[in-house]
Assembly symmetry: C2
Homo-oligomer: 223 residues x 2
Amino acid sequence: MQTIDINKPILDKNDRIAAENRGNFEEHGVFVVNLLASPGSGKTSTILATIEALRGRFGIAVIEGDIASTVDSEKIRDDGVPAVQINTGGVCHLESAMIRRAVDTLDLDELDLIIIENVGNLVCPTDFYLGEDCKVMILSVPEGDDKPLKYPGVFQASEAVILNKVDTMPVFDFNENQFRASVRRLNPKAPIFPISATKGQGVAAWTSWLSSRIEQARAGAEA
Amino acid sequence: MQTIDINKPILDKNDRIAAENRGNFEEHGVFVVNLLASPGSGKTSTILATIEALRGRFGIAVIEGDIASTVDSEKIRDDGVPAVQINTGGVCHLESAMIRRAVDTLDLDELDLIIIENVGNLVCPTDFYLGEDCKVMILSVPEGDDKPLKYPGVFQASEAVILNKVDTMPVFDFNENQFRASVRRLNPKAPIFPISATKGQGVAAWTSWLSSRIEQARAGAEA
């Protein structure tokens, strides 16, 4: 019996365009973060805090992926940073062709960093490579410390894990040690950054890690 | 040019098996809720609170859908209620064939209510009919009041909206009036139940609605 994997042609096409995106980013020396998280974990607030910390040093743009609405890109633009909104119209993840169209509207020569805010979803976006330098994920305290057990794929795929809304730890029954141990089992190398994006707590450690990654990529490109 | 919609055969097959599930549920007079929400919005806690309120009146079982792990079904079983765990192994939603297999392990003659906890995801599960009587969704306060704008599909598909973790309202900047107005625009008929599943607040209004739905379905079946 012949088995047809209907996902294969879609993923093959996605990877081909992602490789073109990758080439485009490298040519212009732009570092690209693919940011993954559930709805409401604070992706946009984390991006705003990151912009606040890095805007003097780097040229930054944001690509916002949502099923519908322009709520998030408006917040970023209000902050004076170029933002492109992608509405997937029901699709649960961003694909590389959507990123290619979004990137066409940006002036890459002016940029050092693009943050892609993926659709709020801990499952589907993990499988679609967009041409990014790295995936980073956010889990927020209210979501619970058991999420690495339930959504192992995204914890394995991410090069850094941001634990957001740590200021609400007293309100929720969140065992940080247990969370750290579960993440370690899935992904021993990824740093974990506890932050409160809206209050600023812990943001410096995360943006310092991100800055070194941007500068490493630059040094690599110039070498 | 011929366009092939690769999703169509999958959805057709899903609907065919869902219709079989539907027939099976009706034959045994079992009311089935398909519960949709993001990761960490409190699906399992809401189910535990619902069991607590209804266990004297109805025979209840739970089908737990997760990418991985048996954390949730263990919690339900600890509570003395039959629970079947489905691990989708990476798939972002439950399908009707998975439900058929799970239902085969339950004694439907003993049951009045099955609650299906779908995979934590506000997007994909909406498209897959499982044979349920109704979809109910949970949004939790920490996720933010803008979620109806961003994930309209799930708000439109649900017959009731539970707003969970209302006890954390003082900690988060959640505008309940704005949230209610957004839900109304998408789904004017769905009742909204503000609850705190872990503290018990508001649970009675939700379980009273659910009880009448179960009894209506029964009355319809006996008529």
